[in-house]
């Protein structure tokens, strides 16, 4: 007896659309973070450089986790 898939196709499409939207929002956030950090750094304020880098890495980790989840849906 074959194992029944966890999600039907329509559900998987909803999931991929939702994840796509979340990833896009996170990228806009990262882009804003990069712009703001560059502006502050060029203005002589280096205090936020490392916290911003860690936040951006956190966003990347979240995106990678979401992508991994997508690939495991098949």
């Amino acid at each position: 007896m074959s194992e029944r898939p966890r999600f039907v196709r329509a559900q998987r499409m909803t999931i991929v659309n939702g994840i796509l939207l979340v990833v896009a929002v996170i990228i806009v956030l990262q882009l804003w973070l990069l712009t703001a950090t560059m502006n502050a750094w060029l203005g002589g304020d280096a205090r936020i450089v490392w916290p911003a880098a860690l936040a951006s890495l956190g966003c990347l980790a979240l995106n990678l986790g979401l992508l991994r989840y997508l690939y495991r849906l098949e």
């Binding site: 039907v8 196709r9 329509a10 998987r12 499409m13 991929v16 659309n17 994840i19 796509l20 990833v23 896009a24 996170i26 990228i27 990262q30 882009l31 973070l33 990069l34 950090t37 560059m38 750094w41 060029l42 203005g43 002589g44 280096a46 450089v49 490392w50 911003a52 880098a53 951006s56 890495l57 966003c59 990347l60 995106n63 990678l64 979401l66 992508l67 997508l70 690939y71």
Partner: protein
């Protein structure tokens, strides 16, 4: 070859309906000749687009790390040695001269005010035009886009510049003016 029932509704698990939702028989010949599993095609294309976006996210994170690394390297750069840039006698109050500190750097401007000497990067922080001292007004003026800076602090006062002029630290010893460093904000 994909097995399909031409009467199946869109999104049905057992078959695949073209994007317009009409049965296969109503589709153009090219679609009937080259049938595709449409929902699966859509699933794969969106998944791959998500992967591309994650790559973009990685590029942005790398850019952020690059700024952090540059910030570390900049902080550990050795300070430039002291350099004599003028003699007190040769620069009357209200006059200015340019110099390079450290050697090979963009031009800096040394201004003598009633209160003493001040020195800044001569390039406007907007689009790098050379600034001109307006000592009577206590300001530095960029004629390109009507930018104004405070002569005592280098802070932008008016016009397009948003960042202060990098300030050069000075000291006066035995009638000679030395540049001793660039203030942290200038990096």
């Amino acid at each position: 070859m994909i097995q399909r029932d031409e009467q199946l509704p869109v999104g049905d698990e057992r078959g695949s309906a073209p994007p317009d939702g009409r049965p296969l028989a109503a589709q153009p010949k090219w679609r009937r000749d080259f049938p595709i599993d449409w929902p699966h095609d859509e699933w794969v294309s969106r998944r791959e687009f998500t992967r591309f976006l994650v790559l973009t996210s990685g590029a942005l994170a790398v850019g952020q790390l690059w700024i952090a690394a540059k910030s570390l390297l900049g902080a550990s750069a050795p300070a430039a040695p002291e350099l004599q840039v003028a003699k007190v006698d040769e620069l009357p109050v209200g006059r200015a001269r340019t110099f390079h500190y450290p050697a090979g750097s963009p031009p800096r401007i040394l201004v003598r005010t009633a209160a003493g000497f001040v020195a800044y990067d001569q390039q406007c922080t907007h689009l790098l035009c050379p600034v001109i001292p307006a000592v009577e007004q206590g300001r530095l003026y960029c004629p390109c886009h009507e930018g104004w800076f405070d002569l005592e602090t280098g802070r932008p006062l008016a016009g397009p510049p948003q960042r202060p002029l990098p300030k050069i630290r000075l000291k006066v010893v035995e009638g000679r003016v030395f540049a001793t460093g660039i203030e942290e904000q200038a990096r």
